[in-house]
């Protein structure tokens, strides 16, 4: 797809300029104001990109002039590419004014190739963009047809590339302008002129590029497009006959998409770890919503609950006209788990532990999606004799390394930063903590813990004491280099 007037169409969309007034975008280059883009009216008046603003004004005195915004053009083109995800997940940027959409196997969803191309151009026209689109077997041929066929819509029947491209100029092979001019100077104006030429002589003169481009256009050489977004393994999409505005409507469509996606996943023996929902708005915006799961999942109801929390945050604008649901990350998932999914309800409350309880997994997923997965963890033992290092937090889905809990469970409360206290005696007979003086009646200790010298600057030895005050509060204090620190509390 080619957007010949992309920059000026975009400017017109943002600024109300009478439609009968020619418009150019202008940038300063080397102290001169140069036209970087001209709209159809300006072009008809003889203004070409690259001419100076003064010349352009002389040609068309009523010219509207706006500053060029190449960065904005590129960003908006990327957004447009995302919007084209409504047709296919495989969309690649092509320079500053084009897009490649791989619609292999997708056209039937839109009523055929003709209907698809008409739909695309119609929607873009409604947004104020003049688009030339072509459908062909190869990206190169589509590129050539969109730009040089002279018609806004072109569909090349499969297998007839050579004939269809024959009359197009050599510039349509995506060659640098200088090279195309040189070819033309030699009388090689049309693509057909290149067909009989021996490859070697062409390469001697022009390098490998023309031959390569020709092969790519004719489908003799593979040319994969590089999609802007990686293609998810499984995508389901649904076009809506009427734009929907209500969260209920979105939820209903999502339900059907989830059902279809989960069937696909089941057939592939996979489960989703991340799902992306794309809502295509009437105004050309795309709203994206992602949910993650802590383990592969393909149970539509559980997945719907993950989305449910956030569906009301989707701003439908003037309506959502298409939705696509992609399994952006998948992992293998055995059928065994599916059986557990279905029968989990029967078995729950029994001996099913956390590892094998899919219902609990979906609960953890809900927590994680709402609160952040980093906020949920389980504790696992770690080989360290420093109490504050003997526990590590582990994400729930991670595999626990083998380690055992220390024989001594230690205190129930452990401060991340031990609090220095004023203490009298060794072991302390009294100490002051948080403005309260505690009189110690019982002391048990000391338990000596050596610092882990391999972890940076060696500290002093710690002598830990279990202390109980007259009210029965039990403390874990240690003395280190003459100072006392409260490290934890026993219950």
């Amino acid at each position: 797809m080619w957007l010949p007037r992309w920059p000026t169409d975009r400017l017109r969309r943002r600024q109300p300029i009478p439609s009968d007034r020619p418009l150019v975008a202008v940038a300063e280059l080397g102290g001169r104001a140069l036209v970087t883009a001209a709209d159809a009216l300006a072009a008809a008046g003889g203004i070409l990109p690259g001419s100076s603003l003064a010349d352009a004004r002389a040609l068309l005195p009523g010219l509207a002039v706006l500053p060029a915004d190449p960065a904005g053009d590129a960003a908006e083109l990327a957004r447009l590419a995302d919007w084209c995800g409504r047709y296919s997940p495989l969309v690649a940027l092509d320079g500053a004014d084009g897009l490649w959409i791989d619609i292999t196997g997708a056209a039937h969803l839109f009523g055929g190739e003709e209907a698809l191309i008409a739909d695309l151009r119609h929607r873009l026209a409604a947004l104020g963009h003049d688009a030339r689109a072509a459908i062909a077997d190869t990206p190169g041929a589509a590129w050539a047809m969109a730009r040089f066929a002279g018609t806004p819509e072109a569909i090349l029947p499969p297998g007839r590339l050579a004939a269809a491209l024959a009359e197009l100029p050599v510039a349509s092979l995506r060659l640098p302008p200088a090279m195309a001019a040189e070819l033309e100077r030699l009388g090689l104006r049309r693509i057909a002129d290149l067909y009989p030429l021996p490859r070697a002589s062409l390469a001697r003169r022009f390098g490998l590029l023309p031959g390569e481009r020709l092969d790519q256009a004719l489908g003799r050489a593979e040319e994969p497009i590089s999609p802007r977004l990686p293609a998810p393994a499984h995508v389901v999409r649904r076009l809506l006959p009427e734009p929907i505005l209500e969260a209920d409507g979105i939820a209903a469509v999502l339900q059907r998409l989830l059902g279809r996606l989960c069937e696909e996943l089941a057939e592939a023996g996979q489960g989703a770890r991340r799902l992306d929902l794309h809502c295509y708005r009437v105004d050309g915006r795309v709203i994206r919503l992602s949910v993650g799961t802590s383990r592969p999942a393909r149970e539509p109801r559980a997945l719907a609950r993950l989305f449910a929390e956030r569906l009301d945050r989707i701003d439908p604008g003037f309506g959502i006209e298409a939705m696509a649901l992609a399994a952006a990350r998948v992992e293998a998932m055995s059928d065994l788990q599916l059986v557990l999914d279905r029968e989990g309800r029967v078995g729950r409350g029994g001996k099913a532990g956390r590892e094998s309880d899919p219902l609990l997994a979906s609960f953890v997923d809900r927590l994680g999606n709402r609160l952040g997965f980093s906020r949920i963890a389980r504790a696992i033992p770690r080989e360290s004799h420093l109490p504050e290092r003997a526990v590590s937090r582990l994400a729930l889905d991670a595999e626990a390394p083998p380690a055992r809990w220390p024989d001594d469970p230690g205190p129930l409360r452990l401060f991340g930063r031990p609090e220095q206290v004023e203490a009298d005696g060794d072991p302390p007979e009294t100490f002051l903590w948080r403005r309260r003086r505690h009189r110690i009646l019982k002391a048990e200790g000391p338990a000596r813990i050596a610092p882990e010298w391999w972890r940076g600057p060696a500290g002093d030895l710690r002598d830990y004491w279990r202390l109980e005050d007259e009210e029965g509060h039990r403390f874990w204090l240690y003395g280190q280099a003459g100072s006392w620190y409260l490290h934890g509390l026993f219950a």
């Binding site: 409350g349 609990l360 953890v364 609160l371 949920i376 389980r378 504790a379 469970p409 452990l414 029965g472």
Partner: protein
């Protein structure tokens, strides 16, 4: 004023109907005196409040209750605000296997309450505990309803960070059971049942006889003896 009395009566009736007194089956604690006073064990599927000071006795008692509830192998959710200072290995001393605890550090009380409510509706969990100094009556009632729906037992662990334990105990609460736990010298706890829906209060002294470390199992390590065996409503503080 008869009219006003009638209104008040009507409201009382409404409250009685809206607050489900029903609790799930009893979970025997293995402490005969306490089990007997509770009518067979700890009521499940309800919201309970455990009030204490920052010293950890209340947390230890709550860990003990959760440990009994989780004896069938189901995990528990233990949540707090911000960094928290729970030392999971310490839970093992009260019969709660640390490997069975899902830890949650919530960013706000609203998040914590939401997670607690979700957890209470999740029958795969044995229990949910939130370190929170109480919550308002509406939130409390929501939790109580969720607990009744899911059959999961919930605990609000009030650590008295801002309010004293007695001020906490004086606040209204939607919890079906309210405990107050204080440390006593010589490794004992004073456990007071402040309120129990459909039952009277009581005071017990629990003796924690921490067994020697020969056992690697995380079996019930708290032995208890009742100093005052009577679960009489007017039980005097035996200390």
């Amino acid at each position: 004023m008869p009219a006003e009395t009638a209104v008040i009566e009507a409201l009382r009736g409404l409250i009685a109907r809206s607050a489900p007194a029903a609790t799930g089956p009893f979970c025997p604690l293995g402490l005969p005196a306490l089990d007997g006073a509770l009518g067979g064990g700890l009521p499940t599927g309800c919201l309970q409040e455990v009030i204490g000071l920052a010293d950890g006795a209340a947390a230890g008692f709550a860990a003990f209750l959760l440990g009994r509830l989780a004896a069938d192998g189901r995990p528990v959710l233990w949540g707090w605000l911000g960094e928290g200072d729970l030392h999971p290995p310490g839970l093992a001393a009260f019969g709660l296997d640390p490997a069975r605890v899902i830890l949650l550090s919530a960013a706000s009380p609203a998040d914590l309450l939401w997670a607690m409510e979700e957890g209470l509706r999740e029958p795969g969990l044995a229990g949910v505990l939130a370190e929170l100094d109480g919550c308002d009556l509406v939130a409390g009632r929501r939790l109580q309803l969720a607990a009744a729906a899911g059959g999961v037992t919930g605990f609000l662990l009030a650590r008295g960070r801002r309010l004293s334990a007695s001020a906490l105990a004086a606040r209204p609460s939607a919890a079906a059971l309210r405990w107050r736990v204080d440390a006593l010298p010589a490794a004992r706890w004073r456990v007071e049942l402040l309120r129990r829906r459909g039952g009277g209060p009581g005071v017990w002294i629990l003796e924690k006889a921490i067994l020697e470390r020969e056992s690697e199992t995380d079996r019930f390590l708290v032995a208890a003896a009742l100093a005052d065996g009577s679960p009489a409503p007017a039980a005097a503080d035996p200390v």
